[in-house]
């Protein structure tokens, strides 16, 4: 720590000394030049009282190089003007008190002028720098204030620092990417240390001799990440100055982050939880508010359809069937929407059990009995399928969707065949229909969310969710859904492939005791 500070101070001193010497040398040259001019003027034009000429190099030196060169040039000027203008020409002796007074006055004026010039210069420089810094900072804080997220704030910090140092700036560990790409290998350990708060900031050189400043965005907390700034090959005063400017910018940014981020984080969390609550409430209310009346409608319809008074009239009796079918369809649509919501929120969590594949097929066909009413359904189920590990309800739901589609896209009376068979390391449940089939293009797109074959849009109702839901449920269970069709009008086969579990079910004999 101490050693580093010393080395930092030594450098600017040397540089300052060098600048002073250069200033003195140039000032003396200027005095010499003035002397030449004065001599020429005296010789050719006959100007005898020109000592004031020597104020010019003093002013230039004062403005350009500072007080010391100005004083040196003033002294040189006094001596030379005495030599050039005053009594006993071309000697360094001063003849009268009048002349001595003049020289002293000249000296005072020169010192004063050099000081004024130097001040003016310094003020101009500072003012210019201030202005630039102010406008940079202003732009920076405007960006900070307008940043919609912490990530934006970090981008703003990065850009601002990069602009400030005109070199590479890396922000690490704050934004999501947090990658240390671009940090030279040998500096990564240092970045890690700074992140872990082992020393607040570090200055290190990489292999190519570039100086890196590594520090936290905010000294108070590691939450805002770490910056690594490539300062290039700087040293001494420039380095100290650069650090100061980076400190200032980061102090500002950290303050903004502290202020904004806390407020924003709270805000975001609040909004998220409100959205979540709203969605839960909506789903809950869809589930409850829509299904409860549906349960009443459906229940009432089943009673009506059984009532002797209505059974006598074929037409009235048929109407009770309509009420029931439509209520059931509505119920299925609601179920599909709820399933779609679950899938979109990636909350499909299969409850794995050992299941008899045949049971799934029977349950799905039974649940879709009324939907399949217009079609002769044949079941070809292998009676000796391996049992599989899957969520029975989700697989059934998927199969029901596929059965729905088969019924929907088949002409009335067209047969539907459901098969269950082993196939290598999986059990395949397939629904074969003789319906509308699929074109090559449709086959590629089918199963996308909300995809519906355009040629069916006008004739068949549907949401385009069915196969998408089926696919989502089956893939959540480690399986896949495959769609086959020979072409338009040639029927389709949709298959659910359920993988056999790696765990082997125990031999039948071992448990029958």
């Amino acid at each position: 720590m101490l050693g580093r500070r010393l080395s930092l101070r030594l450098d600017p001193r040397l540089a300052g000394l060098w600048r002073q010497l250069r200033g003195v040398a140039i000032s003396l040259l200027l005095v010499a030049l003035t002397t030449v001019v004065a001599l020429l003027l005296r010789h050719y034009i006959g100007i005898l009282r020109g000592a004031v000429l020597y104020l010019v190099p003093v002013m230039i030196a004062g403005y350009q190089f500072g007080v010391v060169p100005a004083l040196v040039s003033a002294v040189a000027g006094v001596i030379l003007s005495g030599y050039v203008y005053f009594a006993q020409l071309y000697t360094f002796k001063v003849a009268s008190p009048q002349e001595a007074l003049n020289l002293v006055l000249y000296m005072v004026v020169a010192v004063f002028v050099s000081h004024l010039a130097n001040q003016a210069k310094r003020h101009t420089t500072i003012a210019r720098k201030r202005e630039q810094e102010m406008s940079d900072l202003y732009a920076f804080s405007r960006r900070l204030a307008a940043a919609p997220s912490a990530a934006e704030i970090f981008v703003a910090i990065q850009n601002h620092l990069a602009h400030l140092v005109q070199r590479k700036v890396l922000l690490l560990g704050a934004a999501d990417d947090g990658s240390a790409d671009g940090v030279p290998e040998q500096l990564r350990a240092e970045v890690g240390q700074v992140e872990r708060d082992e020393g607040r900031e570090r200055i290190t050189a990489d292999d190519s001799g570039n100086i890196w400043l590594i520090r936290r965005v905010s000294p108070k907390t590691p939450d805002f990440g770490v910056v690594a700034v490539d300062l290039g090959r700087v040293s001494g005063e420039a380095l100290a100055e650069m650090r100061q400017r980076i400190d200032d910018a980061l102090a500002d940014a950290a303050a903004t982050l502290e202020r904004l981020d806390v407020a924003r984080a709270l805000n975001e969390a609040k909004m998220r939880s409100e959205t979540e609550l709203l969605r839960e409430a909506l789903i809950g209310s869809v589930s409850h508010e829509l299904r409860t009346p549906l349960a009443s409608i459906l229940g009432a319809a089943t009673i009506l359809s059984n009532a002797p008074a209505l059974a006598a009239d074929e037409r009235l009796h048929a109407l009770t069937g309509v009420v029931r079918d439509e209520a059931e369809r509505l119920n299925n649509d609601i179920q599909n929407l709820l399933d779609a919501t679950t899938i979109s929120r990636q909350q499909v969590r299969p409850k794995l059990q050992w299941i008899e594949p045949v049971d799934i097929v029977n349950a799905a066909v039974e649940h879709r009995r009324r939907r399949l009413a217009g079609h002769p359904v044949t079941l070809e189920l292998d009676s000796n399928l391996p049992i599989v590990r899957a969520d029975p309800v989700q697989v059934e739901q998927a199969l029901m969707q596929i059965l729905d589609n088969a019924a929907k896209y088949s002409a009335d009376g067209a047969p539907i065949r459901v098969t269950a068979e082993p196939n290598g390391q999986s059990v395949v449940l397939s629904v074969h229909d003789c319906g509308a089939g699929l074109s090559g293009e449709e086959k590629r797109q089918v199963g996308g969310r909300f995809f519906r074959g355009p040629r069916h849009a006008a004739t068949t109702s549907g949401s385009g969710l069915g196969l998408w839901i089926a696919k989502a449920f089956i893939s959540a269970n480690g399986g896949k859904v495959e769609v086959e069709s020979e072409g338009i009008g040639r029927g389709a086969t949709v298959s659910i492939h359920l993988p056999l579990s790696g765990e082997t079910a125990p031999l039948e004999t071992t448990v029958d005791e």
């Binding site: 229940g299 009673i303 066909v365 009995r369 969520d391 309800v393």
Partner: protein
């Protein structure tokens, strides 16, 4: 069906559901009591015990499971739960708490009545101690531990017989996997549902005409098994005589 009308207590906070249930049960010969809240239900059932309870799980004042638990503390009244879809775990929990069966909303009246009658019969049978039960072509002689299909004796292993026996004792109503595993294999095998799958398959081969199209030993996906008294499509068809059954059963 009954000489003296049976009484049913319908516990549901939805007035329209209560209305159609009242009509449905009255047409079936029940006298109907209603309760809107869990507290009211518990009061009613204490003051005026009924022969059957229909319990909706969504009650405004208390959890349906609480009502069930408190009721089961002193009463064995047959009880059917009205449940919502896609919550198999909850169904299992309620069955374990002592519900006799459930129906999933929306449901047909016939389905509910079939479940209700099964639950009531079970209690009747338990009281009488019937030595013999018949399920279509299947007959079980509990005294002789013998099983017949179309009067032909079927040889079952002891575990197969025990499984069938437990199901028969709850005939018409669902029996959970856990209950069957506990009763047949013991407490240490509660998670071994693959035992059940294999035994049910073997049992079906012996008692079903087509084991891939069971008509007697049915599966309730994710919940358990149900031994039915008659062909299930016929039972459900009471409420929907216009619905043609799916063909394909061989």
């Amino acid at each position: 069906m009954n000489e003296i009308p049976s009484s049913v207590l319908v516990i549901d906070d939805e007035v329209q559901i209560r209305r159609f249930l009242r009509t449905g049960f009255e047409l079936d010969g029940f006298t109907v009591q209603e309760a809107e809240t869990g507290a009211e239900a518990l009061r009613t059932v204490t003051l005026q015990p009924s022969d059957l309870v229909i319990l909706d799980l969504n009650l405004p004042d208390m959890d349906g499971a609480d009502v069930l638990e408190r009721l089961r503390a002193w009463s064995t009244v047959p009880l059917i739960v009205l449940s919502v879809r896609a919550n198999e775990a909850e169904k299992v929990r309620l069955l374990e708490l002592g519900a006799d069966d459930y129906v999933v909303k929306p449901f047909g009246m016939a389905e509910l009545l079939a479940r209700a009658h099964s639950a009531m019969r079970r209690q009747l049978r338990a009281a009488r101690g019937e030595p013999m039960v018949k399920f279509g072509p299947l007959a079980i002689d509990f005294a002789a531990r013998a099983v017949f299909i179309n009067d032909q004796r079927v040889a079952l292993t002891p575990k197969e017989y025990r499984l069938l026996q437990v199901l028969a004792q709850h005939s018409g109503n669902v029996v959970t996997h856990q209950f069957l595993l506990r009763e047949v294999w013991g407490n240490e095998h509660l998670d071994d549902t693959h035992y059940l799958r294999i035994f049910v398959r073997k049992l079906r081969r012996k008692i079903e005409a087509d084991p891939t199209q069971p008509r007697i030993l049915l599966t309730e996906l994710g919940v358990g098994y149900r031994l039915v008294m008659s062909d299930p499509p016929a039972a459900v068809a009471i409420g929907s005589p216009d619905a043609p059954a799916a063909t394909g059963s061989a």
